[in-house]
Amino acid sequence: MHKVLLFVMFTSYSMINSTVRAAKLEDPEKPETPPLHHVIDVSVDEAIELPETMPLESERKLQCKTCHGIEEINDMEFEDVDKNDPEFLNGGPYQPLTEFCTHCHQEKDYQRPNIHVMLDNNGEIKEDSCKFCHEEVLDRDKSYEPDDIKLRIPADRLCYSCHLKTPHLNSMEHQVEPDEDRAKLMKESAQRHNIILPLSRDGKVMCVTCHTPHQPGVIEDHLPAAKQVSDAEVKDGIQYKKDNPWQTIIADDKRDRLQKMLKKSSTKKQAVRIKPEFNYQQIEKEVLLRLPAKDGTLCLACHSFDE
């Protein structure tokens, strides 16, 4: 969580330097900002339209109250500021936090490259993509023991460098240690399908238990680590069918339940801003999965039922 926040703050800092004319603090009495804080006392470009909840000073200058709604925040100690106060960020709270940044900054201008696209047009490996996760580029013609593959961060945390810990619903609930029966089933499934279902250092399910990070063709096809579903392009990601009759029914039902949750919730204001996608997404084409999810084969590699 802290890393995400730091990343957001860092990104915001980078963003503002590129789109807002920076100005030196004219008044040495101006409040001191914490490390990695967005710059203040700069003029915001005319092209940027801010919402009414984010007032600017004269000469369109960005001040504390532009972003923060807490009274006299500039007189408070950094540690005393309640970051969970709904007034901490004007118009907030925000989920995700980057929604606040995009009041001024264009999200598309800051999107990172898809490093899972690892092959160029000639089928050659793009070494830069490898080095995002690996300490060194591996030789495709050699076979390696798992311990020989040096990752920059342990595999169970590596994905969080770019993705949220919970990029889809039910992801966190899966990151648990399988019990004895399930572990046995996973081993049998891996053998039956000739795939790998790797677990983390402490024996828990992790992102790469179900997902493979490598584009088809990067690892030699005969190796279990290479086997995956690949009827969609990596650059496009998983494709969903449109106009499934269940979409509206599920969306309506879940919306009602969400409203009931909001009525009970103590974080009502926060929840109002949540826009969960509760539609039924029927998979049409899939990629970067070790087995097909669209017919449940992937799920049944770990789950079994008595009846």
Binding site: T166, H168, N170, M172, T267, P276, Y280, Q282
Partner: protein
């Protein structure tokens, strides 16, 4: 002297052991009981039964998969408390999906008790108070509401169309001769099954 020392050392050991046990018990009782996650509790739930294996064939045939009920939709919420609530919502069984096959189209077994272990958990509040005596008004007003659960019409006809009214379940033999006594004494009992036209048909015929 040595015996006294031995006695005190044994007592000290016993006392230490007792204190350790007491401290351990206190620590254990102070620790809050670990709450089970929803997926750990799902096998304890008996209110809705969903036989997964029985559905694999039809789900495959329909082109749907596990994600029809277990959402893996994209998520941007990072607040753990809120996400937990959203996940619960995303995993709650969806009546419309189950009932589409089992109630609307009757493509699957439709007896409520196959999935719901206790009818009192799913019936409306109105059913809690002697509803058998008052259901007629609702049924006449909107029969379709009744049909949502009482799919089999025998639920109605078992009582309403029963013809062995001379049997002991209803009236004892010779009741036609004696019915006037009960009708005068407890007419409410007659009205449970008979409306006034039932009486008028005979008593007011000229």
């Amino acid at each position: 002297m040595r015996r006294t020392l031995k006695f005190f050392s044994i007592m000290a050991m016993v006392l230490t052991a007792y204190l350790c046990m007491a401290a351990d018990t206190a620590t254990k009782s102070a620790e809050p009981e670990k709450q089970k996650k929803w997926w750990e509790k799902r096998y304890e739930r008996a209110d809705i039964k969903f036989p997964h294996n029985a559905h694999i064939g039809i789900v495959d045939q329909e082109g749907d998969a596990c994600m029809l009920c277990h959402s893996f939709n994209k998520n941007k919420v990072t607040d753990e408390k809120t996400l937990k609530q959203l996940t619960t919502i995303s995993n709650e069984p969806l009546k419309a999906i189950c009932h589409d096959c089992h109630v609307t189209e009757l493509r699957g077994p439709w007896r409520c008790v196959l999935c719901h272990d206790d009818r009192e958990k799913i019936w409306p509040d109105s059913h809690n108070y002697n509803y058998i005596d008052h259901h007629g008004e609702d049924a006449r007003h909107d029969e379709t509401t009744c049909n949502e659960c009482h799919i089999d019409r025998s639920y109605c006809t078992d009582c309403h169309m029963k013809r062995d009214t001379t049997g002991e379940d209803y009236h004892p033999p010779g009741y036609r001769t004696l019915h006037g006594i009960e009708a005068r004494a407890i007419s409410f009992n007659c009205a449970r099954c008979h409306n006034s036209f039932y009486c008028i048909n005979c008593h007011d015929s000229r």
